[in-house]
């Protein structure tokens, strides 16, 4: 079975470490906040100017001056800080954020990622994504492995306009965990019940498959 959105987030949460400052993109990455391992302290950075973003507010705590990068009302945790957009991107570009999780339409084995523009559809903008991928050493891409009609999104070369080059390291899809190393994707883990053959079939990029590929496990 392919992973649900929640399971992709759950798997990515295993990459969190105590004391990490983390930026989560919109969509599946946002769900990672629901699966912080017990006993671990993690702070979420929101690029509109929060370190220490908390959960959504109760109705009586809604504050129009306190939103996240998705323009949703939020709260902050103990020890949070607010700052300008220039300071925020100094954190991001300056490599101070420990982990960035973001979505993508396509990734490729050169390390490039496409996430912001589909030609022919209206372009809404890249927001902070280009800065995030350029600034982070530690990026996890959360995405679906292939389109509904079976076209791979793990490619030799991205076909869509790029968000950044030389930035992809770890990819968690609904089918697999892949690490990009030496210009090839290495298959590290597979979704429960998904065969190596199926992953191979839906991966256009060069794929290195070790003798044993463990299945991911999830606690419900």
């Amino acid at each position: 079975m392919a992973l649900s959105r929640e399971q992709i987030a759950q798997r990515i949460a295993k990459e969190l470490r105590d004391g990490y400052y983390v930026n989560l993109g919109i969509g599946i990455p946002t769900l990672v906040a629901n699966y912080i391992p017990q006993g671990m302290e993690v702070m979420f950075q929101s690029e509109n100017g929060i370190l220490g973003m908390g959960e959504f507010p109760t109705e009586d705590k809604v504050d129009p001056d306190l939103i996240n990068a998705g323009k949703q009302t939020v709260t902050v945790v103990k020890g949070a800080a607010f700052f300008s957009s220039a300071d925020s991107f100094a954190m991001i570009r300056g490599g101070h954020v420990d982990l960035t999780v973001l979505g993508a339409f396509e990734v490729d084995q050169t390390g490039a990622l496409a996430s912001w523009m589909i030609p022919g559809k209206l372009v809404k903008g890249m927001g902070g994504a280009m800065d995030l991928v350029a600034g982070a050493d530690n990026i996890i891409v959360a995405m679906s492995h292939a389109s509904k009609d079976g076209a791979s999104k793990i490619l030799k070369k991205c076909s869509l306009p790029l968000t950044g080059v030389d930035c992809v390291k770890l990819v968690v899809t609904d089918l697999a965990v892949l690490r990009l190393e030496g210009g090839k994707f290495h298959l590290l883990e597979r979704a429960p019940g998904v065969s190596v053959e199926e992953i191979r079939r839906l991966t256009e990029a060069d794929l290195v498959v070790p003798a044993h590929v463990p299945e991911m496990t999830f606690h419900s």
Partner: protein, 233 residues
């Protein structure tokens, strides 16, 4: 006005000198921390042909969206414009020019404009269409894109929380966003705030933007519309 007192009483005074074809920077992220009354006044003054640098373009009927309705904007420079149906229509029809700029680069182009830095190198956008035609330079084995600063804005429109009469500013929560840099980057910087106190009443240790950057200051009342009201279930 006398000495360092920056306070003006009316929005006509606040935007005196605003003309067609000017370059404006406007603070805010989404609808959070936008100078909503200054934007309304720009609307009422019916100036046209504006170029506006602002992270977003408002929504239909509020924020910068109301300037689009009157076709006052020639060009928007933004990082994300997804929330506005009218905006889409005008871009697709070619009435409105759009220059998409990565959010961090946008912030830095504004900061640099205010700080007297004509350009800077950033890794952001290297290898993408954003870097097309721009100079690339290697530093420590990594390619960086030369991004020019903006020119100073003819008018920089800012929303702050509190100010003293000398224009020392304090922002509140995420309503700061682009406002602190935009305050530094105007030929004329106009700030609207929720509260103005006498000079000396704000603790100098906690000023976000010093009054030297501010030319005109006005007290407004704010609707503070929320774009995505999201509550815990």
């Amino acid at each position: 006005m006398s000495g360092f007192n920056k306070v003006v009483k009316t929005y006509d005074e606040a935007l005196a000198g605003l003309r067609d074809n000017m370059f404006l920077m406007v603070g805010g992220f989404g609808l959070c921390g936008i100078p909503e009354n200054l934007i309304k006044k720009v609307h009422d003054l019916s100036v046209k042909g504006l170029t506006i640098a602002s992270n977003n373009a408002g929504v239909d009927g509020f924020g910068l969206g109301i300037l689009l309705e009157k076709k006052q904007v020639k060009k928007m420079i933004s990082s994300y414009v997804g929330e506005n149906a009218l905006f889409e229509k005008q871009v697709l029809s070619g009435e409105l020019e759009l220059e998409l700029t990565p959010q961090g680069t946008l912030a830095e182009k504004i900061r640099a404009a205010g700080a007297g830095i004509p350009g800077f190198f950033t890794a952001t956008g290297y290898g993408t269409m954003v870097a097309d035609g721009k100079d690339i330079k290697m530093f420590n084995g990594r390619p960086y894109v030369l991004e020019p600063a903006f020119p100073k804005a003819d008018f920089a429109l800012v929303k702050a929380w509190k100010a003293d009469t000398f224009g020392n500013l304090i922002f509140r929560k995420t309503a700061a966003n682009f406002n602190p840099m935009i305050a530094t980057a105007g030929k004329i910087t106009v700030v609207e705030v929720e509260e103005i106190v006498e000079a000396g009443e704000l603790d100098p240790n906690f000023i976000h933007v010093p009054g030297i950057f501010v030319d005109r200051l006005i007290k407004g009342t704010f609707e503070k519309r929320i774009e995505q009201r999201t509550v815990k279930k």
